[in-house]
Symmetry: C2
Subunit: 466 residues, 2 copies
């Protein structure tokens, strides 16, 4: 079954083709066109507020019934709500559209300019990736967030949301395409740029369409990301879960350790950037760990400790149920709740080795007053984020100043860490020649000049380059 009730493969093929066609138009859309599109979207969402509220209410009603039967968690139910108790969530959503409009254009940036020869210039210019496939769960506002990021970066997008938000997603999608349909002809931002599919069956069909889709971003469980990677040739930006560690070095400052560990573990335990493992240098066991443990216990965090740390902490009169022996599995577990594994390491090198073996390459932190040690840690730990004396919870596109994020990547190609607009562009090489061929250059022929030019100056000289 599909959105149109037609044959799955045919319909997804049509959807992918339409998105590809729209993406080719978007390649040449001006910043002004994209900005107008975002304005119209904000206006249309406001106009459609009541329709959106009704659609969202249908999802909420169906979800409440499932929640009452115990099929849906309270947290998931809350995330479905597009408006919030006071309507502030919807306001925030509209503000978000305007914020994306204010971000710098990630396309048309000249990142390399080189005079190859007289009358032969080479430019590397950023451009949209093409067609994105984004698969996400529950929160319906993601439809708007991702669509606006896609438009701003000149990409078409195929969205697949969770079925529990189907009515909200469809209403939001209708609102977005209405807004884009109102644009003047030839604006370069056609309504086909945003496609919505609604059933899981369509994912399998879409994953085969590598001819039309350039990048897949599955936002979901680790298993789902692996399923996607196993079933497609499309490059996957893996927004995998995070197993983040904090290492308390022998010279760690206790106050900083308390602040960083408590925030890392308790600020939002269900997030992928929450800390799961606490590594403690054996010389910091009796000096730093006790105060950290007391602060965590105060927040009701259960500590699962290896033998040395358990021995020490059991003398501190731990609250009932908040101290137990760790199993090896605990050091490979993303708890996502108020539980933390604690392990003693005999050396700095062992901490790094533990992290590089057990971690998920997401965000890893060292607490130390020794700058040399900190910088060695940041160099040797293989992760998207390496932190010195700061909570892993800071790993986030908004906090990094990107204005918005499409997700967090633990990939080691294309884009890593929180991914903002820059992760949605690639580049093309543009060559301005005057009839040159490769055969004119070589031994005893002409030589290439390879004179690196200033990209900004070139853009002033050749405004059509962008």
């Amino acid at each position: 079954m599909t959105v149109n009730g037609a044959n799955g493969i045919d319909t997804t093929l049509e959807i992918a083709r339409a998105a590809r066609g729209a993406s080719l138009e978007l390649q040449a859309a001006s910043l002004e066109s994209k900005s107008l599109a975002l304005h119209r979207i904000a206006e249309q969402l406001l106009k459609d507020k009541e329709t959106l509220r009704q659609a969202n209410q249908r999802d909420l009603d169906e979800a409440r019934a499932r929640k009452d039967k115990g099929e849906l968690s309270e947290a998931l139910f809350k995330r479905l709500d597009l408006f919030g108790p006071d309507g502030s969530k919807f306001e925030t959503l509209l503000e978000g559209v305007k914020d994306v409009d204010k971000l710098a254009d990630p396309t048309g940036q000249v990142t390399y300019a080189c005079k190859l020869d007289d009358g032969l210039d080479l430019y590397r210019v950023t451009c949209p990736v093409g067609v994105l496939l984004i698969i996400f769960e529950s929160r319906p506002e993601v439809v708007v967030q991702i669509s606006t990021l896609a438009i701003k970066s000149g990409n078409a997008v195929i969205l697949k949301g969770g079925r529990e938000a189907a009515h909200s997603n469809a209403a939001l999608h209708a609102s977005l395409t209405t807004a884009l349909s109102s644009l003047p002809a030839g604006s370069g931002v056609p309504p086909q740029a945003i496609q919505l599919v609604s059933t899981r069956d369509e994912i399998a069909a879409l994953l085969k369409l590598d001819e039309y889709i350039d990048l897949a971003i599955p936002r979901g469980s680790n298993e789902f990301v692996r399923y996607v990677k196993d079933n497609t040739r499309i490059p996957v930006l893996g927004h995998a879960d995070g197993l983040c560690s904090i290492y308390l070095d022998e010279s760690a400052d206790t106050a900083k350790a308390v602040s960083v560990v408590v925030d890392g573990k308790t600020n939002y335990p269900a997030a992928c950037n929450a800390a799961e493992t606490l590594l403690v240098h054996e010389n910091a066991l009796s000096t730093v760990l006790p105060e950290v443990a007391r602060a965590l216990w105060e927040k009701r965090v259960q500590l699962r400790c290896d033998t040395p740390s358990h021995g020490l902490l059991s003398q501190l009169n731990p609250p009932s149920g908040l101290l137990r022996e760790a199993t090896p599995e605990d050091f490979r577990t993303e708890f996502l709740e108020l539980v933390m594994a604690v392990r003693t390491v005999p050396s700095f090198a062992d901490a790094i080795s533990h992290i590089n073996t057990h971690g998920s390459h997401h965000t890893e932190c060292i607490v130390t007053e020794n700058q040399k040690q900190a910088e060695e840690f940041m160099r040797k730990v293989d992760a998207a984020g390496v932190y010195w004396n700061a909570s892993t919870r800071l790993a986030d596109g908004f906090r990094y100043g990107f204005g918005a994020e499409i997700g967090v990547s633990t990939n080691k190609t294309h884009a890593r860490g929180p991914v903002g607009l820059e992760g949605l562009v690639i580049y093309k090489y543009k060559v301005y020649g005057s009839g040159q061929g490769a055969g004119m250059y070589g031994p005893s022929k002409k030589k290439f000049l390879h004179e690196v030019l200033d990209g900004r100056e070139e853009l002033q000289r050749r405004p059509g380059l962008a």
Copy 2:
């Protein structure tokens, strides 16, 4: 069967683990260490010249026997020769090692620096990808070229060469690991950084090891690249074949058209950046095409023409066998020989549409005197290289001034076009804090400053950042 004659899976797992271990050391190797490693490699290759010559001779002898039986082409046989008739190929190889040493370090570059708050700084610093898997054919000097690029960019590499060059590859690999073994302890460039596997069976096993291998670069046929993409979760940098077009616009200059088309088609027809399709605006048919066709015929190029161009060119007294009617298949064919498909298009938009539908997103060219048209072409054509009045054959890392290339990518993520050292690095975010947590910021709490800093100045202030 494997290099060690042991169980395939176990051995490839050991190889991948060794490479991963080496890559973690390489993450922290200094520029001086990497430079010393490259020096030692050049020295060792020179020392081993006779051994290498003997190994290469064995491959050549075996290949000659296969060539005589018609199992191997002359071109492939020639590419096996590591020394060339006068030994100059070997000299070029040694020069290449020194050239890579001279290239700028692609790692440790600060590409974003932002003061998040007082005492809380964020940096995006380039770093190695990790472990590369590179699969290539015939030419044994690729072992050295890729290994030196990997070392310079701080990556470990697993190499799989063609079986016809097995002796040469093994001898070169031995020479490289001897050189790295001679480095002082703790240099950060361990001999395990370069791994060689020799059988096709091992590829399948390696493709499953996404836990250890970060990027696969298959250099070979389109089918082989698709096989790799279908059988791995590892990101693949597709060095696919190229179906490049040249479009003669109605305002094309005839002399430039002749130069660009003749070079694009005949400079090296077997290359992926050679031109395969010639699109001609109908208004340029009688004005520009005749001279272009005569020049191509002079180079013995067969033209496979659509009806209008065939009608016109048949009046020019074409040399026997060099003009025939095109089939639809001809416009989807990468000939890689002296054959070119010719199609008439009624408009500029049709040329773009033909290219975006039939092309392989490699390198596409417009010949025109109309700059506005040229820039619109370069914006709307979805390809790694978009050229105005220059031969597609210029699409090459050396010609672009990268100093070296690992291949050409038609991917639309990570790296596109000729890939030099920059395509072998990614980045990590480094945060320097003083105890901050995410919970300190927000409405009615502290605000982030997001003050963008100058990366170079920050690197001077904090040399340990790189």
